[in-house]
């Protein structure tokens, strides 16, 4: 059974189409990055998956319909929607008690263990904590839940880089195992590239790229081209070209690595760079990428 399965998932707010009939299949044990600009439909897709919004089309999360079975689904799903959602009046001890009281799969000792590594006191109220500490607290609560699916929507928004690094380190080291699935959206793409097993680009309610990281690495190559070979490289039809410090960097889809090696240094493009190539050049490139939306099932 796939963890998330969507077919023709569609959601419109008045005349604005937030999700334009997307198909999605996320298998168990994957870490999926959902990448897209603001207003691309990421949060709408996550809200549909979490049972926070009604939708059209077929959607199953862990075999359940999120909209009609949200409360049962939340026994197996944990999510952090934004850093600011823990109630500000709540004490740390109350947060622990409340989650322990309402969640059958919450391990309070585990959460206390995570908190012991921080400077967060049990008597503190959330409003007295710094932004980074609130995130640490929320993560401690969520990681102590034995969930099958963890959804993180911009979990590190507004945090400094030290906290962001700690956040993802503890997520990988203390939480993730092959039986869990994690879905992350973030603008700080470069920080999660090494974490992901799969990546999806979404823009204007449509999926532009849906690939595992292995396929991604096999398929996309970036070449820092020697100045005298630029014309030769362009003949190989790069999907994107940019100039950095006077040198041309060309991005190729399905190109021959050896052939490219003759033109300059070959490397795997960052997700951010590929994202710019795919989404930024959407006007000219959309048909090219859009024709192959499912390069292998993730």
């Amino acid at each position: 059974m796939a963890c998330i399965e969507a077919y023709g998932l569609r959601k419109a707010f008045g005349a604005t189409i937030a999700l334009d009939g997307i198909d999605l299949r996320v298998e168990e044990g994957r870490i999926l990055g959902l990448i897209g600009p603001n207003g691309a439909g990421k949060t709408t897709a996550l809200n549909a998956i979490l049972g926070l919004t009604p939708y059209q089309g077929a959607l199953q999360v862990l075999g359940r319909d999120p909209w009609t079975q949200r409360d049962q689904l939340m026994r197996d799903v944990a999510f952090i929607a934004d850093v600011a959602v823990l109630p500000r009046w709540m004490r740390v001890s109350q947060a622990l008690e409340y989650v322990a009281g309402t969640h059958p799969r919450f391990d309070r000792a585990k959460a206390e263990g995570f908190l012991a590594k921080t400077n967060i006191g049990h008597a503190s109220r959330v409003r007295e904590l710094s932004k980074g500490m609130v995130t640490q607290l929320h993560l401690a609560l969520v990681m102590a839940i034995d969930a099958k699916l963890l959804v993180l929507d911009e979990p590190t928004l507004g945090l400094d880089s030290l906290y962001r690094k700690q956040f993802y380190d503890s997520l990988l080291n203390d939480y993730f195992d092959r039986s869990r699935t994690i879905v992350i959206t973030t603008h700080q793409v470069e920080e999660i590239q090494n974490l992901l097993t799969d990546v999806i680009f979404i823009n204007r309610g449509r999926i532009l790229l849906d690939s595992s990281m292995e396929e991604y690495e096999a398929r996309y190559l970036e070449v820092v081209v020697h100045p005298e070979r630029v014309a030769q490289a362009r003949a190989l039809k790069p999907i994107h070209e940019r100039q950095v410090l006077g040198r041309g960097i060309l991005l190729f889809d399905h190109a021959d690595r050896q052939q490219l090696g003759a033109l300059g240094d070959v490397r795997t493009p960052t997700i951010a760079d590929l994202f710019v190539a795919v989404v930024g050049g959407q006007v000219s490139q959309v048909s090219q990428v859009g024709q192959i939306p499912h390069i292998g099932q993730i």
């Binding site: 926070l52 049962q72 689904l73 939340m74 959602v85 109630p87 004490r91 409340y98 009281g101 799969r105």
Partner: protein, 309 residues
Amino acid sequence: MNTQANTVPGSFDAQAPPPAVFSASRPFYWSVRRELWENRSIYIAPLAAAALYLVGFLISTVRMPRQMRSLSTSAHETLHQAILTPYDYVAGLLMLTAMAVGLFYCLDALHGERRDRSILFWKSLPVSDTTAVLAKASIPLVVLPLITFVLIVAAQWIILLVSSAIWLGSGLSVGTLWTEVAILPMSMMIFYHLLTVHVLWHAPFYGWLLLVSAWARRAAFLWAVLPVVAIAFVEKIAFNTSHFANLLVNRLGGGAEAAVTAADSMPIHPGMHITLGRYLSAPGLWMGLAFTAICLAAAIQLRRQRGPI
């Protein structure tokens, strides 16, 4: 995982506690507790009102022996009223306090969590919208009346004991005091009054306020009040009648008529006769409860659909 836990009776698998062990009432219990954590005014305001009243009462006891002596020669009814006044006042004060707290609580209950986005946290836990809304409704309909009842009874006992000491010290007959006050039947009547008037008869107000709280994006108070005023106003202009306004006034101020024989006074005195049958057979009661149920059902649906504002 569960199969294993089931085949070994008595063993507790901490990794996967079977959902059955986790009783359905637990999320409700914790939802009510969290309301009390967030809204401490639910118990602090009645406590403060009771404490204030008792301070005032203690100061007034200086005058008590002289007042009682002067009244001991007057008609029995006058003495009776004078003795009972502090008990009535403390009950009335605490009931009004609870109504005010309930009103403001309900207006914010489903609005505040959307405004501060914490609804996303509440919804990340396996607590249904029905449980959440019913827990909130239980605050004005169960928790506040119970707190009010306990505090009234406690305050009345304190008043009675302090009075007894003063009467003893002044050489007045404590037996008279206890006969006039009849504290246990009085407590029963207060409970009956809270149940019939403050819970069942006033329930539509709280249902309406919770509905508006779930629906309004801002200015929940205005949305709660203005449509009601508008309906009464339009009715007056269009038909020159005041049925709707009368209905509201009756709902807020009345309700006790059918519950006891004495119509014009607060039914907390033991001398009154409970007429539960007449109270329960009044159609207004059931229409009000039906309206409450509709409001709560709508509030549950709205909480399900609406996100942060």
